[in-house]
């Protein structure tokens, strides 16, 4: 079968006095005029002749208001003929006997015609206004739906729905994927496109112009495809089907569809701009984090190294002139700084792995055990501090990563040590919470102001007391690890007498499945 040329779409009903007369209207006109004839015939003896013509005028008015302009005109003509035939001498002929009857008839025709015309127009205009109002209502619903659409997908779905409703047929939205067009939204239900449809869609996309559906019964596309343009190029194609045969096509479909597509274009452009802005913001944040990481690396790696190198070379070069206690102090400094460097490198490693999306290795973990390990490590690193551990039995086993958990607890204790005075105790507690476990680390330091509490888990944020040395990474790592393990971390401050902070880590018994 050869492809047939695109036929013109089925004639659209237009609103207004150019609309074709409806069969129902003609029938009604005939009936009404017939009724008028009957009434006048029966009452002809009682009523004066002048009022007979008025009765016919009423009939014309009713016909016009009820059915429109053309019906009114037809009714006027029929009324004139009937009146002439039945009630003007000589009756039962179309001839007019008396001269004044001619004038009367002429006037009658004029008035009837005008009545039909005006009343009909009125009726048509009222219909048109109703239709416009209904279309505006639909458009406004579309606009508000588009305004709240979360992303491009929602926009496409909304547009497809509205197109389908306006057209009274199926509607699809297609987007280019690779070198093909794929359906991204369809309404009211899933839509199957055959080869001819796809070809027409592709033509519309490539040419950037509408491809009309073939007339019913003709070969060719069953959909009219229109390109959707955003930022100067075609980003999608909309397809609107023919209404199934027998369905009455809504008036002004073209205008409504064009209006919907216009709104779609605006919405899509807006969404893509928003997406670009969000991507730019995310990129800027990553850049800022990377810059902060580099600067931290530079300074916080270099200082312990400088101390170590300086102390070692001093010991070697000035061995003769260094007093014994100076030697001992230098050796202690080397050890301390090497340990500090090691902790910092570990934190950095964790930070890097978190950013790359680290996968924890899950196993059954005894929370009391992990807490004990972390506290012991902390006691070795900060021997002059008092660090207490209280684990409340019974504690459920957690399916988690022991090494990561250990790092979290250690970082929290280190934080507590750093931000409280040398004689302030640090308390670590492990309790059952729901069906999971809560770890809490409490210090007796100055506490954390409300304003800072929100940001304190961000990377490279240090408390107001910036005099305390540190990289600002510890809490950020805690948060990253806790999240990966499916838990939550927060801080309560002040704790007692306006001082102190408690950091709380809540962990579920098993890691929730990753989304």
């Amino acid at each position: 079968m050869t492809a047939t040329p695109q036929a013109a779409p089925p004639a659209l009903r237009r609103i207004g006095w150019r609309a074709a007369p409806r069969p129902a209207g003609i029938a009604a006109a005939v009936l009404l005029v017939g009724a008028a004839v009957a009434v006048c015939a029966s009452l002809g003896s009682i009523l004066p002749p002048a009022s007979l013509s008025l009765l016919f005028l009423v009939v014309v008015l009713i016909a016009a208001v009820g059915f429109g302009f053309w019906t009114g005109l037809v009714a006027a003509t029929l009324a004139f003929l009937a009146f002439n035939f039945f009630f003007v001498d000589p009756v039962l002929t179309f001839r007019v006997g008396r001269a004044e009857d001619v004038v009367a008839l002429a006037v009658f025709v004029l008035v009837a015609g005008l009545t039909g015309l005006l009343a009909g127009r009125l009726r048509e205009e009222a219909d048109a206004a109703r239709e416009r109002a209904s279309m505006l209502e639909r458009l406004s619903a579309l606009v508000s739906e588009l305004g709240t659409a979360a992303d491009v997908g929602a926009i496409e779905a909304a547009v497809a729905r509205h197109l389908a409703r306006i057209a009274g047929a199926s509607a699809v939205i297609l987007r280019p994927r690779g070198d093909r067009l794929e359906i991204v939204a369809a309404a009211p239900g899933p839509v199957e496109l055959v080869a001819a449809d796809r070809q027409a869609a592709e033509r519309a996309w490539r040419r950037g112009a509408a491809e009309r559906a073939a007339a019913a019964g003709w070969d060719g596309s069953a959909f009219t495809f229109r390109p959707i343009v955003a930022d100067g190029h075609v980003v999608a194609v909309s397809g609107v089907g023919r209404p199934p045969p027998g369905r009455h096509a809504p008036r002004d479909r073209e205008r409504a569809v064009a209006a919907v597509l216009g709104q779609a274009q605006v919405a899509i452009e807006g969404a893509s701009a928003a997406e670009q802005a969000a991507a730019a913001r995310a990129a800027a944040e990553r850049e800022a984090l990377r810059a902060a990481l580099l600067s931290s690396l530079s300074h916080d790696l270099r200082t312990p190294l400088a101390t170590i190198l300086g102390a070692v070379t001093s010991l070697r070069e000035l061995a003769d002139t260094l007093p014994a206690e100076a030697r001992a102090d230098l050796l202690a400094a080397i050890e301390e700084e090497a340990a500090r460097l090691s902790r910092y490198v570990t934190n950095l490693l964790h930070m890097t792995r978190l950013q790359a999306g680290l996968e924890p290795s899950l196993d059954w973990v005894d929370p009391a055990d992990v807490a004990h390990g972390a506290v012991e490590r902390a006691r070795r690193s900060f021997p002059e501090r008092s660090i207490a551990l209280a684990a409340v039995d019974p504690l459920p086993l957690l399916r988690s990563d022991a090494a990561l958990l250990d790092q979290v607890l250690f970082n929290l204790v280190e934080n507590a040590v750093k931000f409280s005075s040398a004689d302030a105790p640090v308390e670590v507690a492990v309790t059952a919470s729901g069906d999971g476990v809560r770890f809490s680390v409490t210090d007796a330091g100055p506490g954390i102001a409300d304003a800072e509490r929100a940001r304190i888990f961000d990377a490279f944020v240090r408390g107001a007391d910036a005099g305390a040395p540190g990289t600002g990474l510890g809490l950020a790592i805690c948060r990253g690890i806790v999240r990966t393990l499916g838990g939550a971390i927060d801080v309560v401050s002040p704790v007692a007498a306006g001082r102190g902070s408690t950091f709380r880590v809540d962990l579920p018994p098993g890691r929730r499945a990753a989304p």
């Binding site: 530079s298 300074h299 270099r302 200082t303 312990p304 190294l305 400088a306 101390t307 170590i308 190198l309 300086g310 102390a311 070379t313 001093s314 070069e317 000035l318 002139t321 260094l322 007093p323 100076a326 102090d329 230098l330 400094a333 301390e336 700084e337």
Partner: protein
């Protein structure tokens, strides 16, 4: 009894202060410590030190501003402790009036050498005299004569000026800008490639092995330094 030279050490890291105190005391200096710029300036005003070691990364103000302020009324030698990757900072500090720099992390011997060189220049061992040596090279400024192991060395006027400038500050780094300004004038401070060519020519004439210079040393990215090893 010669007083021990007084060194003012300005660094905010307690660990750095810790080992510097031990090392510099053991090397025979009197050590005064300051943890920030304000304290440093106060101490320098109260009792002027013989030399200042200044870390550029101070908590309360940029180290370079300390140099600027100090230089308004004092010629005290300043050695800056800089980060290895902060070229611009280093050069800016030197151009502002710092005498030399040491990059962190450093071996203590390097710092001690710089301190020695700076103090020697301050005492005026070389800079005031008209006849001095640089390794094997004997320089007579008044007679405009350079000799190497007895034999005369022919230098162009610019090469001579260049050699004299560097040799007058043995052990001290001079930035490209400083050298260009002193020898060629302020209009030429950007002509670093030009300077490189002249240094190359000078090395050809006075270095035993121009490919491995011992007398005129390159400080990469910063400038040149005449050796202070005799």
């Amino acid at each position: 009894m010669i007083d021990r030279p007084r060194l003012l050490i300005v660094d905010d890291e307690p660990q750095i202060q810790r080992f510097l105190r031990h090392a510099l005391s053991a090397a025979g200096y009197e050590v005064v410590l300051a943890g920030d710029g304000a304290t440093a300036l106060q101490l320098a005003a109260a009792r002027p030190p013989d030399l200042m070691v200044l870390d550029l990364g101070l908590p309360d103000r940029d180290g370079k501003t300390i140099i600027g302020e100090l230089r308004q009324h004092s010629a005290v030698p300043i050695i800056v402790l800089s980060a290895r990757d902060q070229e611009a900072e280093k050069i800016a500090a030197l151009d502002l009036g710092a005498n030399d720099f040491v990059a962190k992390p450093f071996a203590v011997g390097e710092l001690l050498a710089r301190i020695r060189a700076a103090l020697r220049i301050q005492r005026g061992d070389a800079s005031r005299s008209d006849r001095f040596t640089l390794g094997d090279v004997a320089i007579d400024v008044a007679a405009h004569r350079v000799e190497m192991r007895g034999a005369a060395v022919k230098l162009t006027p610019k090469e001579f000026e260049l050699l004299v400038l560097l040799a007058r500050h043995p052990g001290r780094v001079l930035t490209h800008r400083q050298i260009l300004e002193k020898v060629w004038g302020p209009a030429h401070v950007g002509d670093t490639p030009y300077l490189r060519v002249f240094i190359g020519q000078l090395r050809q004439k006075i270095e035993a092995n121009p490919a491995e210079p011992r007398l005129i040393l390159t400080e990469p990215g910063v400038g040149y330094r005449a050796t202070d090893k005799v």
